[in-house]
C-alpha cells in the first residue's frame, strides 16, 4: 500500500531570494527510486486546500533524505517556504513515472544531454547522478532569465560539462538553451528536458537526432490519477494521458500540450 508521511524538514537553503531548497527526512524516501518523480506537499494552512506538486531534486536512501527545490509562485509555495528546520511537512509520494533510465540508449559509454529551463532544472540533477552511475557521459545545458536566477551550476558541473544560457546575456551564452544546442553541435544518444512549454516547442523544432524525453507540469488536484484535472490528449492516437499518473515525463511529440 502506498503511504503518506509527516516528514521532517532537516535542512533549508535559499538559492535565490525566490527559490528555496529543502531537505526532508523520513521512511518514504525508500520508495523514491526514479528520477523525475514528484511529491505532493500539504500546505500548512486550511484555507490552502490543495497539495502542491513539487519535483524531487535529489534522493539519498542511506540517509533517508530527499531534496526539493521550488520557487515562490503563489500563496501555497510562499507558506511552504516559511517552514523552518524542525517542522514537519505532510508528504504524499513519490508520484508519477519520472524519466526513463532503463531504455536501450542508456548504457555505459553513451552520452546523455540534459536540458533545463529555470525552475525546471532541479529534477535533472537526480537524473544526471543516476545516468553517471550507469557509466554515461552527461552534458547539461541550463537556461535562465538572468545570472541572478541561475541555480545549481556547481552541483551540475561536478557531474559533467555544464553550459549556461541567459535571456539577458548576463551569464553564459546570450539567448536560449536551443541557441547552445545549435551552435555547439552537441551529439547525444538521448535527450532529457524539464522547463517551460515554449522551450519544449523550440526543442521539438530542432529535430534532434535521438529520443527526447520532457517533463511537463499542469495544475493538479489529487496528484494520483483520480480527478482528471491534469489530462492531455495523445498526439498521434486516440485517448489521453494523465500528467500526474502516466507522466509527468513523456517522449517529445507523444502528447498535445
Amino acid at each position: 500500500m502506498k503511504k503518506v508521511e509527516d516528514m521532517h524538514l532537516v535542512q533549508k537553503k535559499w538559492l535565490t531570494p525566490q527559490i528555496v531548497q529543502m531537505t526532508l527526512k523520513g521512511g518514504l524516501v525508500l520508495q523514491m527510486n526514479r528520477p523525475g518523480q514528484f511529491v505532493h506537499l500539504r500546505v500548512p494552512d486550511g484555507s490552502t486546500l490543495l497539495r502542491r506538486p513539487i519535483s524531487i531534486h535529489a534522493i539519498d536512501q542511506e540517509e533517508l533524505i530527499f531534496d526539493v527545490i521550488f520557487r515562490i509562485e503563489g500563496k501555497g509555495t510562499k507558506l511552504l517556504s516559511k517552514l523552518t528546520v524542525g517542522d514537519t511537512i505532510h508528504v504524499m509520494g513519490p508520484l508519477g513515472n519520472g524519466f526513463p533510465v532503463s531504455v536501450p540508449q542508456v548504457q555505459s559509454g553513451n552520452t546523455a544531454c540534459l536540458i533545463g529551463g529555470g525552475i525546471g532544472t532541479p529534477p535533472l540533477y537526480e537524473l544526471s547522478k543516476q545516468l553517471k552511475q550507469k557509466g554515461m557521459q552527461v552534458i547539461h545545458i541550463l537556461g535562465f532569465g538572468s545570472e541572478k536566477e541561475c541555480i545549481l551550476e556547481d552541483a551540475f558541473t561536478k557531474l559533467g560539462q555544464t553550459l549556461i544560457s541567459t535571456v539577458d546575456g548576463s551569464k553564459g551564452t546570450h539567448g536560449f538553451v536551443t541557441d547552445i544546442l545549435k551552435d555547439k553541435d552537441i551529439q547525444a544518444d538521448i535527450y532529457y528536458s524539464c522547463g517551460p512549454v515554449p522551450m519544449f516547442s523550440a526543442l521539438e523544432a530542432l529535430n534532434l537526432p535521438a529520443p527526447v524525453y520532457v517533463s511537463y507540469e499542469e495544475r493538479m488536484a489529487c496528484g494520483m490519477g483520480a480527478c482528471y484535472a491534469c489530462v492531455c490528449k495523445n498526439k498521434n492516437q486516440e485517448g489521453y494521458k494523465r500528467i500526474c499518473k502516466e507522466g509527468p515525463v513523456f517522449q517529445a511529440g507523444e502528447v498535445e500540450i
Binding site: 490543495l50 495544475r219 493538479m220 488536484a221 494520483m224 490519477g225 480527478c227 484535472a229 489530462v231 489521453y240
Partner: protein, 301 residues
Amino acid sequence: MLQVKLPGLDLKNPIMPASGCFGFGREFAEYYDLSLLGSIMIKATTVSPRFGNPTPRVAETYGGMLNAIGLQNPGLDVVLTQELPFLEQFDVPIIANIAGSEEEDYIRVAEKISQSKNVHALELNISCPNVKHGGIAFGTDAVVAARLTEKVKKVSQVPVYVKLSPNVTDIVSIAKAIEAAGADGLTMINTLLGMRIDLRTRKPILANQTGGLSGPAIKPVAIRMVHEVAQAVHIPIIGMGGVQNAEDVLEFLLAGASAVAVGTANFVDPYVCPKIIEALPETLHKYGFASIVDCIGGSFK
C-alpha cells in the same frame, strides 16, 4: 452503531466518496482496502467516451477549489466491462452516477448500468455545471427534472437517487417535484458555479471560464439546503459539500442527511474516508448519540 439502511443500500457505515472525486476506485485501491467504505459513488458515466474540457481544469480558492473537468469518462461499455468488474473484488455497494446530453442518453445508461451486479443504486447527475448540453440544464427546472426522473425510474433495476444542484432559487420545489416523480432518494449538493480571474493574464484561470466550487467553503450552503429539503420530503438524503472530518458528518446528519459523501477532501488526504469512518464511533459518543440513525434529522426533530 454505524449501519444505515437506505433504498437499495445496506450500508455498513454512512461514508462514501462522492462522484468525480474518486474515479472508479482504482487509484485509491493502491492506498487502502475499498471494502472499508460504506459505498462508492463512481465517476459520471455517459453513453460514449468523453474527453472533457481543456486545461486548466482546476483552480484553488479560499478553503475550496473550482473544477471544470467536463464529465471525462471512458463511456458506458468500458465502465460495464472493466471498471465495475474491477470493483467486484471489494465488499462495497456501488452507486453509479449517470449523465448525458439528452433524456435518451440517461435512459440508455440507466437501463444497462443498473443491471450490473454490484450497482445497488443510481445517482442521476442533473447538476453538473461544466458541460454545455445536459447536466445542470436538467436540474434547474422542476418540470424537466421530474420528467427525467420518471423516465429513468421506469428503466432502472435499482433505486434512483437524484443529485441536486445548489444553483437554483428554490431547491425545495425541485426536490419535491423529483420526489413526486418517484425518486427513491436525493443526493445534495453538487458544486456551486464560480469563477477565478488571474491578475497577471486578466483572464479566467479555468479554460472553461466557470467551474464548480467545492470544499469546506461551501459546507454552510450544503447544510442549509439539506436542512430545508429534509423537512420538505419523505425520501432519504445523502448529504455532501465540504466534509473533512467526523464532526462535519454529524453536522450533515443533524441537518437531515441519512448518509454522507466526501468529495474534495479525498484530494487533500487520500486516507480521509477511512479516517472519518474510524473516528465516527467516538465522535457519536462524544456528542451523546448511540448510533448514526439516532443522529439523523436531530436539528429539527
